[in-house]
Structures are given as structure tokens and as C-alpha cells.
Symmetry: C2
Subunit: 363 residues, 2 copies
């Protein structure tokens, strides 16, 4: 007899219907998960999406988030709200013993995030953020490469870039660019991924300091549209990133070690839904007289059985099932990763506000 | 009847025999050029290389640089000396009415470079630096892409990286890492190319300011082994670069515009000697529900009839022939490009020395 699936609720926000729809589809692909409730202040709009996607009739549609959290049939919630609203609802969810999958950017700052993490810890529920690419099978395979002392050597530098081109309607209306709803702008929407990628490559070791790069751009409300930062570690490692909503869609990681180089061009969302590639080079060198390369980078391809959003959901639901059925403890790896990402993000924001002064990363 | 070729001399430096040999071969490939003289303080070593490469008997071997410059049969000289020696010999060459092809880094600073450029101008001789990749046919083709308002839009950011892994013998002995001979280290050897690439992408418009990135590394003599910088322009464009002799060989350019992205992984020396590729993307976008990319980058390949070092020599010799035979003026495009590269390099160096303070770029 199949086990009862983990029952999920979603706290939907009007404008992010695409995200809600994507995650609903992802849940449907995970054997051990079922969507049971959606709460949305704009329930008619949400219902419209659900109907269009042909979701089953058992999904309960609530006109408030509270109703989802009060529903005893809901084991866990996916919270994809604007950053300034998320801590309140994530804390409320944890207090109702619901496991929390929180969309990024997770919170306005680490103080707010810590409220969420404390609530999750106190209730013994799993916390995870919505950084999809962590769950693609390409990610551990690349990690194996950069952890290999023979092929990659010691990590020396990382550069990461995530930009997309926002149309005028998005620039005008999207909640990510409104100071009362999000306030982190491109830094929260794109920079979050870059910071995570840098920390991931650096084995989640926090940098000593973070320095924003000159040339940040803001909208009229003072929200970041484009920025970058430099990170440095005591061992001589360095990293830079650039994020923007004003440039063509670009998703880059280049990591160099003493012996190797890792590169990919689609780290946030792979070019294809069922396979993803990356490039590695080891002990690259020139031909005699430097007329070409003797050792050139090679491409590697990794197939994924489910889209990465479903892989994330499978991972999350697996942890929830472990806690609910087998009495396991929540996996602390995930909140720890989120918190470090937030700490660096906060330092970048502080450095921008202080005119690109170097800022020590908190703990 | 074929025209008399342009007659070239080389001022050779002991340790850079590979460079000397590469350029000698390049000269042999250019129809309108002939190598007639080599001056080297270590002439026996130089002779050894020449013999091994089977160079013709007419090449005169001098034991001093002066002898090459005094030889009336020499029209132009290639000067691949350490940066601190180059200005003296380039000035001497220009004063003897020899056209000057000067290896990079061209000089310790712009003050020294200006002595060279003034001497060349006073003598009416052509000046060009040895930045090979400027002469590959891939370069103007890429430039066409990033100048295209439809396909690339407005340039927003550039990232550039050139690193290689120096072995212990190089770290110990190479003149690039000796303060009395070069003093610019990785900044002069690798950063030069990155700065040129950034200026090339930015239509040779100088940035407002340059800020070194934290985390520069130095050898015991204080010479830069690894560093980076951020550049910013009044119109909101930004650029970063990273250069190092402590990481695996990596040569990256990523340029993003409002509508397009340009990328290549071998900008300094192409992977292959007879063809080079680059990637472009225009109006990249995601599929509905963000499960993949609808418009992905595409690869383009450009064949070259000669290796890029011969293409540089052909360009240089063509300009010299125009001056010598047709009474043309020297092409000022080349010294202007060199000077801007040096100005930015000087600003990076100054910013490193001032603890990563933002430094205005001179003029």
C-alpha cells in the first residue's frame, strides 16, 4: 500500500501566478506529494490559473493565508510572497507546525530571517528556500569537480552573473521593484542566486568582507536595478558578481582553481528541461609557441528525470516525510545555507548604502 | 616584379626565446616582410633558437641592440623586452627612424609610454603594441555584433578574466615578476589584455573611475601575482576583470547589452590556430513557466588564413609600407589604443597601492 503523500498548501500572491502555476505542476510530478490548498487574496485570479491547468477538484481554495495555515490537512506550505511579507507568514506557518518552503529572497534582512528560522526550530519543522538550481543533479556533479584536488586544485576565483531584461510593464509594476513589498530589487531577485553560487563554490565558507562595486543603478523609489560586489576570503580566494534587470538574460558561473576551470551559462535555469551541461578544463595549457591550446575545456551533460522545481519539491517532501513518519530531525543544512546567503546579501546592501565601503560579513 | 619587403629587426631578450621564435615564424609567413637582423645580449642563445628553427643565413646576428638600430637595412623593429627596458629602446629605435612594434606591457607607466609615443610622432614612424587578438578576424566580427543596436542593444556590463598557472620555476625566475625588470606582474602580463578587451567593448571610451578589488596577491618582491578591478562609466556601464598567474589557464569575455550577450573563452589565444569561435545571444528569454530557454546562445566560427601573430605582423608591415612607399601618415589609432590601455592599467595600479580607493582615470 502506498504511503499517504505529504499534503501541501500554497500561499499565493496575485502577481506571481506563473511561479504558483510552475510549483503546482511540480508538485503534481512528485509521487509523494499532493497539493491540497491554495490561499490567495485574489482567489479568483488564482482559481483561473488552476482551472486552466486542469488541477483536481480536491484542491481547497481559500481567500486568506490564515485559512491554509489553520487547515489540519496541510502538512507543509510553499510561500512565494514578496520579501517583506514572507517573514510574518513563514513564522505563522511554523507556529502552526507547517513545514516551510520559502521563496527567495526569503526576507528583507537576516534579523527578519532569524525570526523565521527560530520559529521553525522551535516547532521542529523543516525549512528550505526556493533556490531551484541547488536540486539539479548537475549541481553535485559540478561540486565533485571543483572539490577534486587533482582536476581542479585549490579554488582561487569565482565570477557569477545573472541578468535579465525587464520590460517597461515589469519595471513599473512588479513587486520586486517596490520598496514597500520587496525592496531588494535585482539584488534579491538575481544577486541571491549569484551569492548562493559563490558560497556553494566556496564550500559555504563566509567571506571576510564584501565590497559593492561602483555603478549600482536604482529606480525612482530607490530600489536596486543593477549592482555587483566583490568578496574576499582570508586564504586569498576572491569572487565577483553582477546582477541586473536591465541586461539580456545571462546566467554565468566561472570558477577557477589552481588546476582547473568550471563554467556554465545557464546555472539558474538550464537551457533544457531534461538535461543540463557544464564545461570543465584541467591543467589547460598552450601548444608550443602559444599558437593554440593543447588541453581545451570539455562539455559534460547531465540528465534530470524531473524538472528542477520538482526535484526541489521531492527533496523537501522527502525531508518532511522523514520528520513526520520516521521521527527524524529537520535537516539543518538548508536553513544554514539560506542564512549565509542572507548574511552576504545584507553586507552587499550595506556596502552599497555606504558608498562601496568594504563591509565585514556578520555571523 | 614583387615589391621589396619591409625589413624587420628584433631586439631579443634572453628569457623570451619562445616569443622571439614565434614572431620570427610569423614574419616568415607574411609575404611583404622579411627578418633581417636580431640583436641579443645573449646572442649564442638566440642563435641556437634560430638555427633550430632553420632560419635563413641572411639574418644578421648582433650582440647589441644598438647595432640593430644602426643597421640601415632595418626598416622596423619588434621590441619584446621587459617593460622597464622597453621605453629606452623604443625611443632609441624611433630616433633612428625605425618603426616600432612594442610588446605588451609596453612601459612601466604612461609617462614612460608618452616618451615613446612622442619619439615615434617626431620621427613619423608607426607605433603599434603587440596585443595579438586585436588582429584576429574574429575580433571585428564580434565588434559588429556588440555594435548592433538590434541584436545587442546598449552595452551594460563586461566581465573579463585572464589567468594562467605559473610553475615554480616561472614564479622564481621570470622577468615579469621581477620588480627591477617589469614590476607590473600579472597586471601587465594578463590584466593588459583584459583592460584592452574592456576598452574595445566600450568603444575605447575611458571609464570615469577604476577601483581595484580587495584580495590582490603579491610575491615577496611586491610584484602583483593576482588582482582585479572594477570600472565604471557615466552612462551606467560597468566592467570587472580578474587576472592572475596562480590559476588554471582561463580567458573569458562576457559582455551583456540590453538585448544581447557576447561570450568567448579563448580571447587572448584562440583554442585553434586556424579558426576561432564565439557565442552570441539576442533577446534571450525563458519558456513559459520558466522551464527552459526559448532563445539560446548560438556559436559562430571564424576562419583565419594566417595565425594571429602573422596577422598582426601583416597589419604592421602594411602600415609601414604605406608610410615608406606611399608617403602616408602613421595610423594614430594604434598608439591611441595603447595609451588608453596604459592609462587604465596605471589607475588600477594606483588603486591597489591606495588600498582599493576609487581612482580617476587620467587623460
Amino acid at each position: 500500500m502506498a504511503e499517504t503523500p505529504i499534503r501541501l498548501g500554497i500561499l499565493g500572491y496575485g502577481e506571481i501566478s506563473r511561479r504558483l502555476s510552475k510549483l503546482s505542476k511540480a508538485i503534481a510530478l512528485v509521487p509523494n506529494a499532493t497539493l491540497v490548498a491554495i490561499g490567495s487574496r485574489r482567489i479568483h485570479k488564482a482559481t483561473g490559473i488552476m482551472s486552466a491547468d486542469g488541477f483536481p477538484s480536491w484542491v481547497k481554495m481559500y481567500e486568506s493565508y490564515e485559512a491554509v495555515l489553520d487547515d489540519p490537512d496541510v502538512d507543509a506550505v510553499y510561500v512565494p510572497l514578496p520579501a517583506k511579507l514572507q517573514p510574518k507568514w513563514a513564522v505563522a506557518a511554523a507556529e502552526k507546525k507547517k513545514h516551510v518552503l520559502l521563496e527567495k529572497p526569503v526576507a528583507p534582512d537576516v534579523v527578519e530571517l532569524d525570526r523565521v528560522l527560530a520559529a521553525c526550530e522551535a516547532s521542529g519543522v523543516q525549512f528550505m528556500d526556493g533556490t531551484l538550481w541547488m536540486h539539479h543533479p548537475r549541481t553535485p556533479e559540478m561540486k565533485e569537480f571543483i572539490s577534486d584536488r587533482q582536476r581542479f586544485g585549490q579554488l582561487k576565483s569565482i565570477h557569477c552573473c545573472f541578468t535579465y531584461y525587464a520590460n517597461p510593464e515589469f519595471l513599473e509594476n512588479d513587486f520586486r521593484l517596490k520598496p514597500d513589498l520587496d525592496g531588494l530589487g535585482a539584488l534579491g531577485d538575481c544577486g541571491w542566486y549569484c551569492i548562493r553560487a559563490i558560497l556553494w563554490a566556496a564550500d559555504h565558507q563566509l567571506p571576510n568582507s564584501v565590497t559593492a562595486l561602483p555603478g549600482s543603478l536604482f529606480n525612482n523609489a530607490g530600489v536596486i536595478l543593477s549592482c555587483g560586489a566583490s568578496l574576499d576570503w582570508a586564504d586569498g580566494k576572491v569572487a565577483t558578481f553582477h546582477c541586473s534587470v536591465l541586461s539580456n538574460l545571462t546566467m554565468e558561473i566561472t570558477a577557477t582553481g589552481t588546476k582547473g576551470t568550471l563554467q556554465l551559462h545557464d546555472f539558474v535555469i538550464p537551457f533544457k528541461h531534461d538535461t543540463a551541461s557544464y564545461s570543465t578544463a584541467s591543467e589547460s595549457c598552450l601548444e608550443e609557441l602559444s599558437t593554440g591550446w593543447r588541453a581545451r575545456p570539455s562539455e559534460h551533460s547531465v540528465a534530470n528525470d524531473l524538472p528542477q522545481e520538482a526535484l526541489m519539491m521531492r527533496e523537501f517532501v522527502g525531508l518532511v516525510a522523514g520528520i513526520k513518519r520516521d521521527g527524524k530531525e529537520p535537516d539543518n543544512k538548508w536553513p544554514a545555507m539560506t542564512r549565509k546567503t542572507q548574511l552576504v546579501l545584507d553586507a552587499v546592501k550595506a556596502s552599497i548604502e555606504r558608498g562601496c565601503e568594504a563591509v565585514e560579513v556578520g555571523s
